[in-house]
Amino acid sequence: MKIAKLIVAAALLGGMSGVLTSCSDNDTPVAYYPVNVSVNLPEEIASATILDEEYQFKNVSTNEVKTFTSASEIELTEGLYDVTYTAHVRMENGVETTMRAMAQGVTITSGDNEINLTAYNTIEADDLIIAEVFNTGTTNATGGQNRDSYVKLYNNTDKVIYADGLSLFESDFSTIQKYDYDPDVMPTHVVVRTLFTVPGDGTQFPVQPGEYFLMVDRANPASENSFDLTHADVEWYDVSQVASQQDTDNPDVPNMDKVYSYSRSITILDQSQRAFGIARLGVPADEFLENYAYTATYELVTAAGSFSMTKKDCYMIPNEWVVDVVNMSPRDNYAWNVTSPAIDCGWSYVAQNSSDKTRFFKSVRRKMLYVNEAGNPVLKDTNNSTEDFNARVTPSEIELQGTAIDADGTLCTTRTYDGVTPVK
């Protein structure tokens, strides 16, 4: 009987090891699928020679970036990607330029993947550029907002530029909520909800090479945790229809002309989920308001179902009028760019997420490339805000005036060109 038991035990042990050895490691490799990318070149450089090109695929899920230098070698895993195409080209007249294309939210699946990109020639800026957006402002010790936001422009050229007629705008679309608007005008226009224009006859506001032009919400003197803005060039004063929320007007600082604002009270730029830009309107303001209104429909999809919505009370600016723009979004909530990649291929941020209360005392500042022979900083301008701006840095006015960098009143002791590069 004992021998029989031993045989049973041995058989069981043998069977058991057989079961286990059949379960060997077999790591399944991740499948890569070929992707065909077609780039439609702009008409003016269709016959240009491509010197080099780069296809960049950023996996939206993982943030992993894969770069290819030839369209024939692109293979990707399944996923959702943001695609950026950059090429250096030489035109027939010998001029070399940079061409870019971008597509967001491209789905790569196990089937055939075809991507069509429309490239844009990157036109060298010959106007003012946005050097800094400080939209969040500062707060006092009790948490109240000081309303000291500003936008700082910069003359990155070697000639005098006049800010007269330059308009500051805020996009209507949010960078954290993506909808399929119908009609979709984004390839050709920026839809805005706020528009203020620098007054003047064309010679009133000269900006010298290497100089800044400061546009502020309120040109107020320094206060608790805030800094002096009475030296601002212009302010966007807004006549409010709400008695409890009135703007302040510094009579010594010229007011910008209000073309349009969605707000019935004062205009603030605190929300860090819009695109901010500057443009030169190609038509008078009244004609713009009459002919460039934008109305669209879109589907609001919720857990409770889909609802047809209408967007109105906003206007559209043609891309060719846009001088510069920076898309901004809370870092963790970014959904899409609300302008065409022809004018901005990237985005920047001051807030880490939608409820980030540490966004105050932070701005985005354009990166400095070098200091030229005249001693002026030369700022980076590639129409890609991700690459061009330093995100979430100390605002320049706080550095210049050595004021508070937080609600506790800690004073700023640093001085930089761009929030990162120290002034020597």
Binding site: V8, L13, M16, V60, S61, G79, Q177, V301, A303, A407
Partner: protein, 518 residues
Amino acid sequence: MRNLIRYLSPATLALTVSVSAFGHEADTLAVAGDMIIERIARHEDMMRGMAWRSYANPAVRQWEQDYGYSALSGGYGYSGSNRAVDVSRGTGESAWRVAADSYIKHKTSTLWGSAGYSNGRQRGIRWNESSDADLVYPYFTADSIGGDMRMETYSFAGGYADHNDRWAWGVSAGYRAGLYYRAVDPRPRNTTGCLDIAAGGALRLGRSDYQAAVSVSFRKYKQSCDIEFVNELSDNSIWHLTGLGTHYERFAGSGYSHYYNGLQWGAGVNLFPSSRSGAVASVQFSSFNFDHILTGFNRLPLQSVTDSRVSAQAGWLAPGASHDFAVTADLSHRRRTGSENIFGDPSGNVYPQIGSLALYSHTLTEASLNVLWQWRPESESLLSVKPGVGWSRSDESYADPRRRVLLSAVTPGVTVKGSRIFGGKWHASLSAEIACALPVDNICELPYDKNIPAGMQAVDINRYDILSKTNTLAGVNVALSRALNGRYAIGVSAGYFRHGYADGVHSDRVDVSASFIF
């Protein structure tokens, strides 16, 4: 949680009281003549635990022991290390607990039950705000701050088995609930619930005492998690980890409310001698699947896991009058595959799923061989020696970008235990164990990624750094019981264990408890 307590407490009490009440009468009938001090001695006999896998089948558990044994106990446990081996599990924990356990024989029937409550603190957890880490890994939701976590756990379980000359059957059920929270930022609040149900049947083979048994089991698991930051100026960034220092970038900073929802099915076959003498064998298979779901994105299924496990044990039990002998071989193979779902452009807050990538895998294979020899120089003394050797191989990998951690070791060890009854009223035991894990083959491929927080990546690098080197475990346990009369006894026990790693890293564990045994 008050509701949970309201429901659990009466159930726990009812179970404990009913089992205990049943036990008073049943013990008298079934094991008349067994003095409590003798039952304590038999309960500490190491032979009982050698075929432990077989007792997962409730039909077989009726032959785990042939005497009734019940205990009400309370105790305190502490563990702590000077450096966390795995910071996502913390540096240690301390908790006090109360528990009731009962195992009752009545004619051919067997009834068992248990209930327990513990309250304490898990310390020094970083890069993980989820609970039940061994169940839901690698898909933790994490922040860079972490800290201690308060915990309360409740559990109750019970089972019934019976047999006749040819057939045997049994059922068991258990429920475990937990509440884990922190009162300072970041403030996770996790509630866990785990329901286990099993049923088994056995057929007597001919006229032998061998039982061929089968069993099926089912588990329902859910963990709901909420993270809150009260201080508006604190860093409230959170990440949804994907294993080996990676995370799901797209939903970083969002998904403060999430949950894990899982099911497990299992089946097993056993060969077990009802006399507990002869060959034992057990093969079990289980498959556990769960989804990790972000509540705020219309219940977005972010990740899912399939965990399949096959385990087996075979051995020989040879109890004798003055010498006992047993040998068992254990093998288990487990493969966990984690998939990340890919989502397209959202419409509002609704994300359409466009694909799924199986990126994480963990294969864990373990084998061990244990031998037990016991000697009774006289009827009231017992000396046990259990040498053994184990082998383990843990292979974790992430497919893209490629990351891998392989840890394998051979662990020889020995446990020596001596026990004795003094004067018919006292029972004392002293045991000591020592084991040493010797690395066999280790691989660490964790390239640094500048886009991922350094602390997140350091978790697995540090874990590898510690576990890839020789480490030793040593411990002692002492227990003392005194019979109050023929049916009741009280007992105390204390244990101390020290795990020493390279570079001065060590962890200590202390357990003390007091029991009322009947």
